[in-house]
């Protein structure tokens, strides 16, 4: 099993609230969290926000309880899509570590599972699922390495939403058989966070097996992170890194090339 992660903490402009949520997450034992910027392109042409630099939030990140390393904070983008034109992978998406989509219609769900370049597909928690999950797109997503996400903060806030969360989650688990599932909070306040073992137990209510439920908070989240990292690479094998080029090095390069032409006669 890998470290525990919570990949959905709703971002807010209130820096102190964000700080307290991250401190609570570190205290509960999460080693990595992702701040989620939710965008709904339908309203008045909303622009993709620029993610706040992580080092702006904390000078010194809080230490995870029970370990000696600090908590890791990432940035994530969620697009609420009710139309195919809403999801347009532009350069702005590249500044986020993770990209997620929340499809509102069946056609979009199918497209998201099979073609969209995303890491996470969110499942409705605050309302009855408007469409049924079909085996074909879900299996297609599993093959591609895309993960389905269930949030539990809505279940904490309201009893009606609790019913919807559990019902939607159970219907998803029937189709995907417990594979490629992650569970995250969707917390807007520190009180809406729960410990990782509690969420693993919540997975049992969603009809996951014990190993699958624990993996949904640890191993599968790690897989999502790796999927997000490889989105910026060529087939996950080759990636570019900016190398700081100093003027000294450029001077050294020219005598070397001169030598080469002398030895071989051509450059």
């Amino acid at each position: 099993m890998s470290v525990f992660m919570d990949l959905n903490i709703i971002s807010s402009n209130d820096k102190n609230r964000l700080k307290s949520i991250i401190e609570t997450a570190a205290h509960l034992g999460y080693s990595t969290v992702a701040i989620n910027y939710v965008v709904e392109p339908q309203q008045k042409k909303q622009e993709i926000p620029k993610p706040q630099s992580v080092s702006d939030i904390f000078d010194k990140f809080p230490i995870v309880q029970g370990k000696s390393s600090p908590i890791k904070v990432l940035n994530r983008l969620t697009i609420i899509a009710s139309d195919a034109s809403h999801f347009r992978p532009t350069n702005e998406y590249k500044s986020f570590d993770l990209v997620a989509v929340y499809p509102k219609t069946e056609k979009l769900f199918h497209a998201a599972c099979m073609t969209f370049d995303v890491d996470i597909i969110c499942i409705a928690v605050a309302e009855k699922q408007p469409f049924h999950f079909k085996r074909a797109p879900v299996n297609g997503a599993i093959d591609r390495g895309v993960f389905f996400e269930t949030c539990y903060a809505a279940a904490i806030r309201d009893t009606t939403m609790r019913r919807y969360t559990i019902a939607n989650a159970i219907s998803l688990m029937e189709v995907c058989k417990g594979k490629n599932i992650i569970m995250s909070s969707g917390a807007e306040r520190p009180l809406e966070l729960r410990g990782p073992y509690d969420i693993a137990n919540l997975g049992l209510v969603f009809s996951l097996s014990e190993g699958d439920a624990k993996a949904a908070v640890s191993t599968n989240c790690r897989a999502v992170l790796l999927h997000g990292e490889t989105r910026a690479t060529a087939s996950g094998v080759v990636y570019t890194m900016k190398k700081p080029k100093t003027p000294q090095k450029q001077e050294e390069e020219s005598p070397v090339s001169k030598k080469k032409s002398d030895t071989f006669g051509n450059i």
């Binding site: 099993m1 890998s2 080693s31 370990k67 000696s68 009809s207």
Partner: protein, 354 residues
Amino acid sequence: MSPELEKCPRSLLVCEKSNFLNEKSRHDFHVSKHNFNYKISVLMPECGMLPANISTVINSFSHYYLVRALPVHELLEETFLESLVKKGHFYALSYNTKIDEDNSIALLSSGQLILSLDKDTYEQLGLEGRPSLYNHRKAMRFVVTLDLTDKSLSPGTKRYQRVLSSLKDRLPLRYDFFFTKYNTGADEDKTLNKLLSQYAYEEHKPAVSHQTLKEIPCPTLYPSDIQGKTLSCDPHHFLEWLGAVNLDINCENAADSFLSTYVCPEPQSSVSQALLCTVTGFISPENVFALLKELRFTPWVSLTVHGFMDSPVSWGATEHGFLKGGENFYNFVCFKNQDYWLHMATGAQDGCPP
């Protein structure tokens, strides 16, 4: 409700009864095999004050050290191997590492170095190991076992050089460690002190606390009936009651109290006072054995030894994991006539105790 919800993670309880004077008794084997002990709690019914002999034994428990940011390759250095590991009675365990999340290192008294590594560390380190027994669909945890007393790993051999270079250059691992050494009398402290002086460390003494409980019901136990069929109570109920007493949980089961429904198992008798003594720290099995020899009181004394939840091994080199809980403990019930009961219990991801 789905049938999955009614299932709980499994737990194992092994019960054994024998007599301390019996030559075939394996109590010393079981105690010595359980390498890493975190907490000892002793419950003595009908006892008010801590007896002097027990108090002297507890005060003579060896000290343990917490070393900060120690590189793992130091555990393979030649002088360290010769003076500490090969002579035995030396235990080391990584601190602040969770067994189900990150890497965990343990050095047993038998000279085996166990590295329980996650997938990324294992692949980067490049040492030979096997996948953990408690992996789910994908192998995410691997266990590397190095026998430091083995000839093929003696300093100078190719394999030793390879292991040392992996831990030093390829992936330098650094963790906080607990060290403890049971001194058999000879003066061997110099190497340990020399090693410790290079890194930040703190020396600790095991913390002792005791309280006297008044007017509590205690189960009556008869040495011959361990299964609880006729005279005594069922071992599960007995251990549950013992846990409740240790945690100061009310066992009256009053009609208007909804907090706890734990009861003292039948048959029971009320005792006027009982002594509960707890020692916490990094305690070596030899110290536990010394304490065990002193516990002979009427009607019975119970000694519970808890292992670390995050240690990579439980008994010997049996792998230990953490699913929802990582308990691995054993409990002795000692009677005046040298009879004893031994209950050994583990949680879900653990091998059967010996």
